[in-house]
């Protein structure tokens, strides 16, 4: 047991505590200080995660409740990066908000929750992580108390979250009931000795519904477009990305201990992936609101990511593809929301006409992010999809890859609905922008999107030895 193994998470929590203290004892005009403070904590968290260098000795720690492996580390880095972008975005967005000082603290707690989800090797810990990321998420979504739309989105997020968290807990309890342990490693050996298929089916359903909530997967996805559209833009960026990363790793980790001979969970997840990507895409097609469209697109992207979960432990590329895809998704989605934020939250598609002429760099960033979500090479999203498809075909789910291709083609249609007016029309007047911090966030996320594609070689080499414990 080594407290250092949790240092990335501890850094976030300490940062959050420091933010709360500073926010409580400083005057309102000085509260901007909490944002850089939180940024230091996030950077420290990511830096420590890299420093822990888990390639060599991936192990279970804390009485085998915490997985110190490549999957955890990958998720930690993605979460830290995405959280940093959201912090930069919040700096100017909340400038006039009287509660701006506390916002970074909530963000950090939520990010810590997502990291706990990713590293949990114990079902109770999954529940703890889920609760932490959800409860803070409700606050983030409804942070603008005065905006009825934001409050409603937060309300919806909360109601669905309360229900699905309860379902998750039921699943965890059934699993405990049938094995007598919450530890995943022990669960695996207990189930290998013999398991009741009915109970395992119930567990799979409860896990899918419960973790699917933060993944944004069908059937617990209905909050995603509302939150994407109506929550404060930095919160929307955060909530469509960070919880998804943690929850997907958690789902993969828990599912892989379930015996396949007792219940065919792979086809169930494959079906879920198929439905999720298709529903997300079809509903994104006709959105006239960019943020709502990004919300639906994030549902469909969750469906793609689930493809990696389907073949986890069966195809060599499954885990690397999950991490790379999530990294590329996080970079592209935060980049898109960053552009929205930098444009002071303008969200109607019509408002993006002629952006290419008035704000060429913002337009380029948005185009890069959307093309990456489509999977156009050599952007990060391409490498993500390439590895996903490879793993899926390798794992014997060719039909799922074919469906993903069909979905990708359909998705091009709505992504281009944003690109075309931006690049081909002329605008009557230039739009107002938010400021330098948000602009920096745009640049950071867009660069990351490009670099993830170009530097995929070293990235995949680093992930080559990554495992998903237990």
């Amino acid at each position: 047991m080594d407290v250092g193994h949790l240092a990335p998470e501890i850094a976030l929590v300490l940062g959050a505590v420091a933010v709360v203290l500073v926010a409580s004892f400083t005057r309102r005009e000085r509260q901007w200080i909490t944002t850089p403070l939180a940024a230091v904590a996030v950077v420290a968290s990511g830096g420590i995660s890299i420093g822990l260098a888990r390639g060599a000795d991936q192990q279970l720690s804390f009485d085998r409740a915490w997985a110190l492996d490549g999957a955890t580390q990958g998720a930690e880095l993605i979460i830290a990066g995405a959280t940093l972008v959201c912090l930069l975005l919040s700096a100017e967005w909340f400038r006039t908000d009287p509660r701006r000082g506390e916002y970074p603290a909530v963000l950090l707690f939520s990010a810590a929750g997502a990291m706990v989800l990713a590293g949990a090797a114990d079902t109770m810990e999954v529940v703890v992580g889920m609760l932490l990321v959800s409860v803070t998420g409700y606050t983030l979504a409804a942070y603008h108390r005065a905006s009825p739309a934001a409050v409603e989105a937060g309300m919806r997020y909360f109601l669905i979250g309360a229900l699905t968290n309860a379902v998750l807990l039921v699943g965890v309890v059934i699993l405990y009931g049938s094995t007598g342990t919450t530890n995943l490693d022990d669960t695996a050996s207990a189930l290998a000795a013999g398991a009741d298929p009915v109970a395992i089916v119930a567990v799979v359903v409860c896990l899918v519904v419960g973790l699917g909530f933060e993944i944004g997967a069908v059937p617990s996805h209905v909050w995603v477009p509302d939150v994407a559209q109506a929550a404060p833009a930095p919160s929307a960026a955060f909530l469509t990305v960070v919880p998804k990363v943690g929850a997907l790793v958690a789902l993969a980790r828990v599912l892989q201990v379930l015996p396949e001979d007792a219940v065919a969970w792979r086809p169930i997840i494959a079906l879920l992936a198929a439905v999720t990507m298709t529903v997300g895409n079809l509903l994104a097609l006709w959105q006239d609101d960019l943020r709502r469209m990004l919300g639906w697109s994030s549902v469909s992207q969750a469906g793609y990511a689930l493809m990696a979960v389907v073949v986890i432990d069966r195809a060599d590329m499954a885990l690397p593809s999950l991490i790379v895809f999530l990294a590329a998704y996080a970079a592209a989605t935060t980049a898109a929301f960053a552009v929205v934020t930098e444009l002071r939250g303008r969200t109607a598609l019509a408002d993006y006409r002629g952006l290419g002429a008035t704000h060429p760099w913002l337009a380029v960033a948005l185009v890069v992010s959307l093309l990456s979500l489509v999977g156009i090479p050599p952007l990060g999203g391409f490498v993500g999809k390439l590895t996903l498809f490879t793993a899926t075909i390798d794992g014997g789910y060719g039909w799922l890859a074919a469906l993903a291709v069909a979905n990708t083609v359909a998705s091009l249609f709505y992504y281009l609905r944003v690109v075309a007016p931006m690049a081909f029309d002329t605008s009557p007047r230039p739009a107002a922008v938010l400021g330098r911090w948000a602009g920096g966030a745009v640049a950071f996320a867009a660069f990351a999107t490009v670099l993830l594609g170009l530097l995929a070689g070293p990235l995949l080499t680093a992930l080559d030895s990554a495992v998903l414990l237990p």
């Binding site: 156009i376 090479p377 490498v383 390439l386 498809f389 291709v405 990708t408 690049a423 081909f424 080559d464």
Partner: protein, 498 residues
């Protein structure tokens, strides 16, 4: 040298995007010079290229990109890819130099052209399957913006349709690539390994599906009937030089891919399904010609004639992969003919679309019924257009004839009835091009065309190299055949080896 041929235009494109203060004249010079660099480099490659060499791919340049996946930056040439790369580089120089209404965005327009040049050369030069795919996909992005921003009429819808269709095709193709790739051990996208290992040989239904996926993707790009419907709107609404690129370079990626991937890497399976492909090629030849004949719109007519001509190329490729090791001489002839057709079609149709672009800059009208009698007022334009039209209908002494003759002779030795049926297509194309020339240049001159300007110096200068090559290939094809034949010989004779 090959790497530089890809990178120089790409970097120049970036420079154009960043060069905010550059005037129109400066960007034009920069773009023309940058687009000419690859041509010079490729001519140098040609000089160093050994046509009698034993290695299938020469002058290979390679470094790792994603080593865990077996993906590398691997460039190299054989006779066919070198010829197509040279052709592309030439058409790009011409298209960049060709005057067109830039609507005030000259830097972006030329930057997209250079970007497209870099990725097109990348397609022809890469000998890594994934790198090929990357460039293949990027060409869609470049063309999408060129059509959408500088096109006319229904430009945006045409650009969207183009992108959707070809992306759908290329993604399906990617699945086929992955099926092929997953059978290699160790995993690699290196084309040399894939050609040597024939990874899917003898894998029945899986191989058939992979072949289908790959061929669908390439057929969309080619375009083969019935997946050709994106082509006419894209051509009609694109600016003239972009149409020339689309016809001269981008369509070749489809047929080139057919030679490089299914024909070379999946011999067994290709042989099994070659008769089906022959059927689709024949359909494209006849249908393309008939529909072209029915068009009154100049650009649509040329566009549909491309469907017909690419049908010849596909026919040659399909014939080359038929019958296993039998009729080797005929099949070799068909493949060589197909590659010459690709070069010839690039030159001829490139020229025709540039001419069409000149019509648009003068009158904003493509309807052939609105023209007539221009032979007197615009003799140079008439000469250029007529020469290109005759070459396109396959007049002996011009490039098209050399290609079609070989394809037909080759096809005749394998499928005599198909050759006979395909000849109908040639008759129809003859009719449609003669009618086109007649409608545009002869008869009475409408009064509103009294001051129709002849070809300007820049236009003429750009057209000359294309047309000169059309004649040179027609009367003295040996230099081109010397480059192409050893490669097609190697590909066809590999069929006998089991």
């Amino acid at each position: 040298m090959l790497t530089a041929a890809v990178l120089v235009p790409a970097l120049a494109a970036v420079a154009l995007v960043l060069g905010r203060t550059w005037s129109e004249a400066v960007t034009r010079v920069v773009a023309v010079v940058a687009s000419a660099v690859p041509l010079v480099l490729l001519v140098g490659t040609w000089i160093r290229f050994d046509t009698g060499g034993s290695q299938p791919f020469q002058l290979v340049e390679e470094t790792d990109w994603i080593p865990t996946l077996g993906v590398g930056w691997r460039l190299g040439v054989d006779g066919i890819s070198l010829a197509l790369a040279l052709l592309s580089a030439l058409i790009f120089v011409v298209a960049v130099a060709y005057p067109v209404d830039l609507r005030g965005r000259h830097r972006q327009y030329r930057a997209w052209f250079l970007f497209l040049e870099a990725v097109s050369l990348g397609v022809f030069l890469s000998i890594d399957l994934l790198l090929f795919y990357v460039f293949f996909d990027l060409s869609l992005v470049g063309m999408y913006f060129l059509i959408g921003r500088w096109g006319h009429g229904e430009a945006r819808a045409a650009a969207l349709k183009f992108f959707l269709y070809t992306l759908a095709g290329s993604l399906v193709m990617l699945l086929g690539f992955l099926a092929l790739y997953l059978q290699t051990d160790p995993l690699t996208f290196d084309m040399r390994v894939l050609i040597a290992e024939q990874p899917l040989a003898g894998r029945g239904a899986t191989a058939g599906l992979a072949l289908l996926a790959i061929l669908v993707g390439l057929a969309v790009k080619t375009p083969l009937v019935p997946v050709h419907t994106w082509l006419p709107p894209a051509h009609v609404n694109a600016p003239g030089p972009a149409s020339a690129l689309l016809a001269g370079v981008l369509l070749k990626m489809g047929t080139f891919g057919m030679i490089r991937i299914p024909l070379s890497m999946m011999r067994d399976t290709f042989e099994t399904y070659a008769p089906v492909l022959v059927g689709f090629a024949l359909l494209s030849i006849i249908y393309g010609a008939l529909v072209a004949l029915g068009q009154t719109d100049l650009k649509r007519r040329i566009a549909y004639s491309s469907v017909n001509h690419m049908g010849y190329a596909v026919l040659g490729i399909a014939v080359a992969g038929s019958l296993g090791s039998g009729e080797e001489a005929g099949r070799r002839l068909a493949l060589t003919g197909a590659t010459v057709e690709m070069v010839a079609h690039g030159l001829i149709t490139g020229a025709l679309f540039l001419v069409a672009g000149s019509f648009w800059t003068r009158t904003q009208d493509y309807d052939m019924d609105h023209y007539g009698g221009l032979a007197g007022t615009a003799p140079r334009l008439t000469g250029a257009a007529t020469l290109a039209a005759f070459a396109s209908l396959g007049l002996p002494g011009l490039a098209g004839f050399v290609a079609e003759l070989q394809i037909f002779v080759g096809t005749f030795s394998v499928y005599p009835w198909v050759a006979a049926a395909a000849l109908v297509g040639v008759l129809i194309t003859a009719a449609l091009f003669l009618q086109m020339v007649q409608k545009l240049f002869f008869g009475d001159l409408p009064t509103r065309l009294r001051d129709f300007a002849d070809l300007g110096h820049r236009e003429a200068l750009a057209l000359v190299p294309l047309l000169v090559l059309v004649v040179v290939i027609g009367v003295w094809p040996t230099w081109l055949l010397d480059l192409l034949t050893p490669t097609s010989e190697a590909i066809v004779s590999a069929f006998g080896v089991r």
